[in-house]
């Protein structure tokens, strides 16, 4: 008896998925747990494995198709089984099938000369196959750098992704494309929304429109935490073994730990709003914003209040490298209780971050500024750091937010407490 395979729920928040690549073709035998396809969700590229045994009789959603949850993607059955009636019923029950195959129908493959002039605009030239059309060199770069070609729009003929799309040609090659005459509006470059970009747009719009944000900023003395970090790293380097990689602790690692301690002390900031009740979490799971190509991801450091700074440092290193390769499982990005976003490395003094729902607050970390400070009656060179807390006012009132920041300041300005807590 043939069975219809449907788009599975591969991340807690996905509503639709894009089949990025089929690993099976029609007629292939399928065993339990065999890899059927890769599906790009709003969070990551996930493996779609079979729960059943049989023969893949028909692929309904070819590579590249965007399919809503629960809609059919393929038919599994016995070899040679007649599935005409089943297919008819599936096709009859549109919009299901129609929805499942929009890209294949809308964009027939280009058969133009392989090196014909590039199309006027790359938008809409996404090839119908799940395999993004890309030059061999681009595929090599993608393998080496962990690029997701599904997120790149190609400027070559037929939408082929060529080297300049992933790295830009050497600066010495000027674009000969003539600027339109003045008075003519040049068409913008359209970049199709990736699943990640759609998720960012949806969630942050929802956050800014439904969560009443307010912001509290403190400016702390960063000399102690700076010195502590230097001392820790000097000690680590001195103690390093030849065969083990040198681990370094960053300011961010210390701030994640400090925030976790402060949250344990002021649990009202470690909370979530629901229409019935405010949920005060009994775990401190900190989401760390990681910039990746085409967007950002927020892997979660679980129980950060109970982990050592070294453990947090190692974990963040590992999570961010997998985030950049888009190899994080959705569960590793879900159920955070508080977020930290750090733009200090980009030279930002201070900023206000958008809350990552359903969390109740997010801490925005600026750069450590070298500037004259007052010590006693003397002006001396010092370091300062601005920390801005965005709070969901439904959960966190101003006084509570201030209490959290006071606890955080005490830790940052007396950083051995971060290590001792």
């Amino acid at each position: 008896m043939a069975k219809v395979l449907e788009m599975p729920k591969l991340s807690p928040t996905m509503e639709e998925g894009q089949i990025s690549l089929w690993h099976m073709k029609e007629g292939d035998p399928v065993g339990v747990d065999d890899l059927l396809a890769e599906v790009e969700t709003d969070k990551a590229t996930m493996e779609y494995r079979s729960f059943d045994r049989g023969t893949l009789l028909r692929i309904l959603a070819p590579g590249g198709s965007v399919v809503r949850l629960g809609q059919p993607v393929a038919v599994l059955g016995a070899p040679g089984e007649d599935i005409a009636a089943l297919l008819a019923s599936l096709l009859g029950s549109s919009p299901v099938a129609a929805d499942a195959l929009p890209l294949a129908a809308a964009h027939p493959p280009s058969v133009a000369d392989v090196v014909a002039a590039p199309p006027a605009g790359p938008a809409g030239d996404e090839p119908p196959t799940g395999r993004a059309k890309a030059s061999p060199y681009v595929r090599k770069l993608a393998r080496e750098r962990g690029l997701d070609l599904g997120l790149v729009s190609g400027s070559g003929p037929g939408g082929r992704i060529v080297a300049r799309d992933v790295e830009g040609l050497p600066e010495a090659v000027p674009a000969p494309a003539p600027r339109p005459e003045s008075g003519v509006l040049a068409a913008p470059i359209a970049r199709p929304l990736s699943m990640m970009r759609k998720a960012i747009a949806r969630r942050l719009t929802e956050s800014k429109q439904t969560v009443p944000h307010f912001y509290l900023t403190i400016d702390v003395d960063a000399d102690p935490i700076w010195s502590l970090r230097e001392q820790i790293n000097a000690d680590l380097a001195a103690a390093a073994h030849a065969d083990a990689p040198v681990i370094k602790v960053s300011l961010n690692d210390l701030l994640v730990k400090a925030s976790a301690i402060a949250l344990a002390r002021v649990p009202e900031c470690n909370a979530e709003f629901t229409p019935e009740a405010i949920l005060i979490h009994r775990r401190v799971d900190i989401s760390v914003a990681v910039a990746v190509s085409e967007g950002l991801l927020t892997p979660v450091v679980r129980d950060a209040d109970r982990k050592s700074v070294m453990a947090i440092a190692a974990e963040i290193r590992e999570l961010s490298s997998r985030a950049k390769a888009r190899k994080l499982a959705p569960s590793e990005m879900a159920n955070g209780t508080f977020s930290i976003s750090n733009l200090g490395m980009y030279g930002i003094d201070e900023f206000a971050a958008v809350i990552n729902p359903p969390e109740g607050a997010i801490l925005a970390v600026g750069q450590v500024r070298r500037e004259p400070v007052l010590r006693g009656d003397a002006i001396v060179p010092g370091r300062r750091l601005k920390l801005t807390l965005s709070c969901d006012h439904r959960v966190v009132d101003g006084a509570v937010g201030a209490e959290f920041l006071r606890a955080l300041r005490a830790l940052v300005e007396h950083p051995t407490r971060i290590l001792l807590a």
């Binding site: 392989v114 090196v115 002039a117 590039p118 030059s135 061999p136 060199y137 681009v138 595929r139 090599k140 400027s155 070559g156 003929p157 060529v162 080297a163 300049r164 040609l169 050497p170 010495a172 090659v173 000027p174 674009a175 000969p176």
Partner: protein, 327 residues
């Protein structure tokens, strides 16, 4: 170093090798009393006498066969054709005797012989006299095929060819004979066969060429440089054996290649190079490899039409823009 024209460099190579080894002799139509159809062998009859600089009747098959026989029994002939077009009459001798006898005799026979002549397009010599013959010969195992672009390489490669113990075909060019260049005077200056040269370094695209087309490719590279495109020009020098190492290393750097040559687009050495690149540098290609060749027609006599059929710098530039996706 001396400033020599291409024809003088070829002559110097022959004179030096004939003085070095008395088994070497020159044979062909008009090589003696007429001083060479293109004056390549000027003065050589006076210098070496009629026994070693031999005028023949118009009998390519005959003097080719006789010379292959002479090579088998111990001499080292240099066979000059008036142009490579006329070697077609002697094709059977080259294909079935020169290229085969060492293998078919189980190594008992060697054929140390050099065939040389101008090759490719000249100016308005008509379709039957404008062939790029290297493609036919490079197809044949047992032959070496050389096609230098500069006087120094002409001298060094021809001397290496004369000293080689197997048949070597040496492609010159009527329109290159007057080109001047620095040429080493050292009588033992040899250019090894099977090694390409980088005629111009660049990072954005590889242009592979040989013989006269190297100069056209350099002209194209100069045009491209004004657009900010740095083309690397490879002067192949030797078509068989082929220096795929240099080609692949360059494509690994530039990720794009255009092959520029005289000869028709169907098959041939250009297609062979494309095959090597796609096989050995597949993962480094950002665009399909393109070729600039003769158009796929017999060469027109009409001067303007001939210019359309023969690759010009502008056509190479056009192909380069395509592989850069800037056409």
């Amino acid at each position: 170093m001396s400033q020599l024209r291409f024809r003088e460099a070829v002559r110097a190579a022959m004179i030096e090798e004939m003085e070095r080894d008395e088994r070497v002799y020159l044979i062909g139509e008009e090589v003696g009393h007429y001083q060479g159809a293109y004056k390549v062998s000027e003065g050589m009859l006076e210098r070496f006498g009629e026994r070693r600089v031999i005028d023949t009747p118009i009998t390519e098959s005959g003097f080719t066969g006789i010379s292959i026989g002479a090579a088998i029994v111990g001499l080292r002939p240099i066979v000059e054709y008036m142009t490579w077009n006329f070697s077609a009459v002697a094709f059977d001798q080259i294909l079935n005797n020169a290229a085969k006898l060492r293998q078919m005799s189980g190594g008992q026979l060697r054929v140390p012989i050099v065939f040389r002549a101008p090759n490719g397009s000249a100016r308005q010599v008509g379709s039957q006299h404008s062939h790029a013959m290297e493609h036919f010969y490079a197809h044949i195992p047992g032959l070496k095929v050389l096609a230098p672009a500069t006087p120094a390489d002409a001298k060094g490669l021809l001397k290496a060819a004369i000293r080689d113990d197997d048949p070597v075909l040496f492609m010159e060019s009527e329109t290159l004979y007057g080109v001047k260049g620095e040429v080493p005077d050292d009588p033992d200056f040899l250019v090894p066969m099977g090694q390409a040269a980088i005629a111009r370094e660049g990072r954005d695209v590889t242009i592979v060429a040989w013989s006269r087309m190297v100069h056209v490719a350099l002209e194209a590279a100069a045009v491209l440089a004004r657009e900010g495109v740095e083309a690397e020009v490879i002067d192949l020098r030797s078509l068989r054996p082929l220096d795929e190492t240099t080609i692949v290393a360059s494509v690994r750097k530039t990720h794009r290649a255009v092959i520029a040559y005289e000869g028709w687009p169907y098959g041939g050495v250009g297609a062979e190079i494309v095959d090597r690149i796609q096989r050995l540098a597949f993962d480094d290609l950002d665009a399909p490899v393109l070729r600039t060749s003769f158009l796929d027609v017999p060469m027109p006599y009409n001067a303007r039409l001939e210019q359309l059929v023969v690759p010009q710098a502008s056509r190479i530039v056009e192909q380069v823009r395509k592989v850069l996706y800037r056409a």
